[in-house]
């Protein structure tokens, strides 16, 4: 069976997932984003401007690094790391924000708002706004502002206002709710720079389009390095932007297995998890039909992951579709497995990964042992771990409870 890259229908549906479950007040704005994106997507001037920024500012193309030492722990499989951690601001997020910030300017918007979990998307958004002269406000769950204090300082330095969200579970999902509330009230001059491949149509497609470059580059780099396509592509999945970023170009390559590694937390069979495809069920959340962690009455369940960026109780609708059709497989990776892979990459390769990306590395260790030494596994190293040093030091007992070494 061959698979084309999924193209959503006019309403933004991927099979039975996706769509637009949004208040009427926002429909005009969503229509505008959709129409403007359709217009500039093939506009040579816009693309030239974006390409220029990606090359001269973000640092694209990002490197492909073979992790030879790490490979020894992965059954000898060749592990190739797509180095999105080397991008400006330290993660894949910059691709999306530069594109959407340019789009916001095209739409005549003067203000940008965004949610952030780990802070990577917030930092990237604040960066793009500083560069392009846009007012910027970032909503961040209060719990996340505490575990990612360094990123809050970073956003402030870049001129963004960071608003801690104190209601609900005080994490990413509540930050998204609050950003939508702001958008409804200020939509005439404000763009909601959505950070992941989720939300109401057209965001899942817009975000995927802007990240498509990741997989497209990696596909060429792998062909050049090993002379063939990889056997498997691995990425971590929270909302799913870095995963769709590296999957998209490979979806039509039916012999390339796609693996999304969800945040299992303390175990996907416990109530301390964020594995929405593994442990959730179809529902409607944040504007789209997708897999959601929910109770029998449709109330969203609190999610848990050691990684703030994956601590989200749902997933982008295209992943829900890829899971339902079987084109991609989604498996949980626990906090402990992720932290072991985190430690291993630091020690064997001298690369400190984001804890988010460590979930993909843990998955690659598992896959490599399964596929054996002749296999080639491409891993999206979606971000660097500088922001996670406190969490990791605490986890490994490198500091005392006061944070002192």
């Amino acid at each position: 069976m061959s698979h084309a890259l999924p193209v959503p229908d006019d309403g933004g549906h991927y099979g039975r997932f996706g769509g637009r479950f949004a208040p009427e007040s926002l429909i005009a704005a969503l229509d505008e984003v959709e129409a403007q994106w359709a217009k500039v997507k093939d506009d040579a001037d816009f693309q030239a401007e974006l390409d220029h920024l990606l090359k001269s500012y973000a640092g694209r193309p990002s490197l492909l690094t073979e992790a030879r030492n790490f490979s020894e722990h992965a059954g000898g499989a060749r592990i190739l790391l797509k180095r999105e951690d080397l991008n400006h601001t330290g993660s894949h997020k910059i691709n999306n924000v530069l594109g959407q910030a340019l789009l916001a300017k095209r739409m005549g918007k003067t203000r940008v708002i965004a949610e952030t979990g780990a802070g990577q998307h917030g930092v990237a958004t604040a960066t793009a706004c500083a560069l392009l002269g846009l007012d910027c406000r970032i909503y961040m769950g209060e719990q996340d502002t505490e575990r990612q204090a360094l990123n809050v300082a970073r956003m402030n330095m870049l001129g963004a206002e960071v608003v801690p969200v104190t209601i609900g579970s005080r994490t990413l999902k509540d930050a998204i709710n609050e950003t939508f509330r702001d958008w409804v009230a200020n939509v005439d001059h404000t763009h909601y720079l959505f950070g992941t491949a989720a939300g109401p149509h057209p965001f899942p497609k817009l975000v995927r389009d802007l990240h498509f470059v990741v997989g497209a580059e990696a596909r060429e780099q792998v062909l050049e390095l090993v002379g063939r396509l990889p056997d498997a592509v691995a990425a971590c999945v929270g909302g799913g932007s870095n995963a769709i970023a590296i999957f998209a170009a490979f979806v039509p390559d039916e012999n390339v297995a796609l693996y999304g590694f969800e945040a299992g937390g303390e175990g996907a069979d416990t109530d301390r998890t964020a594995a929405s495809i593994t442990a959730g069920s179809p529902g409607v959340f944040h504007g789209a039909r997708t897999f959601v962690l929910q109770d029998e009455y449709g109330q969203t369940l609190p999610s848990h992951s050691i990684s703030a960026g994956l601590d989200y109780p749902a997933v982008g609708p295209e992943h829900a579709h890829l899971a339902a059709t079987g084109r991609a497989k989604y498996e949980p990776v626990t906090d402990a497995e992720a932290m072991e892979a985190f430690r291993l990459l630091c020690r064997t390769e001298g690369i400190i990964p984001a804890i988010e990306s460590a979930h993909a590395l843990a998955g690659a260790l598992r896959l490599g042992r399964e596929l054996g030494p002749d296999s080639v596994i491409l891993v999206n190293l979606s971000g660097r771990g500088d922001k996670d040093v406190n969490t990791a030091a605490d986890y490994f007992g490198l500091v005392d409870s006061e944070g002192q070494a």
Binding site: G11, G19, R20, F21, A22, P23, E24, S25, L26, I27, A28, A29, I167, G168, K173, D174, N177, F180, R181, V184, A185, N186, V187, D188, G283, V284, F285, H286, G287, V292, Q294, E296, Y297, G298, Q299, T300
Partner: protein
Amino acid sequence: MMPTTTLRSKLAQAREADRAALIGYLPAGFPDVESSIRVVQAMVEGGCDVVEVGLPYSDPMMDGPTIQRAAGLALDSGTTTDDVFQVVEATAATGAAALVMSYWNPIERYGVERFATELAKVGGSGVITPDLIPEEADEWVAASDKAGIDRVFLVAPSSSDRRLALTTEACGGFVYAASLMGVTGTRAQVSDTAEVLVRRTREVTRDSGLPICVGLGISNGTQAAEVAAYADGVIVGAGFCQRILDAPDLETGLVAVRSFAEELAEGVRSR
């Protein structure tokens, strides 16, 4: 032809009396299930023609701090979808029209057809769905038609003329006109955008005569009177919740709610 609902009769009666209808909102289970029934009774005693019983949801994207807090307390007290039906039944028993206001996921999770059937069974007139647009509502249209209940969608100041037509065509009972671009909560002034939106909506509902009710930001009798001058119904939510939140005990809260409803009821009669 759909059998008429209590909602439709209430709105028709108000129109005959040359006044706007008063529509109050309260989350079921706020502050707990039994007390919420007593609050609804006080709202009706004070003059509410219609009560929207809110289904408290964990992620109320369209609600401001007051209703977020009220709905949060309702969830904390253990309110479930089945409790919502109990409050609807008690609301219908007061003689007022009972609606449910709910985000879409709890309805989908309960089972769309099962929800519609159960609501009709307990005497509910219809459902307001703030995050469901007609384009996504095929299953809901079929289920609500089958159960003989009204579907209330929203229009907003940002709605295009094309969308005003599409949305009002899908509505039954009335169309909910959001007075402003924003979330629920009281405002010092009712925005002028409400009157413009109602005028634009009238253009597309001239043939059907679908009532247009205005909500968001209305918090006193004067504002209710202002809106009643051009709308068929005035919707008030946060103001009721706030009075319960502010009261030292339920009895005091009930007195405040009743007197607030009276003030609004007088407003909607001063066209």
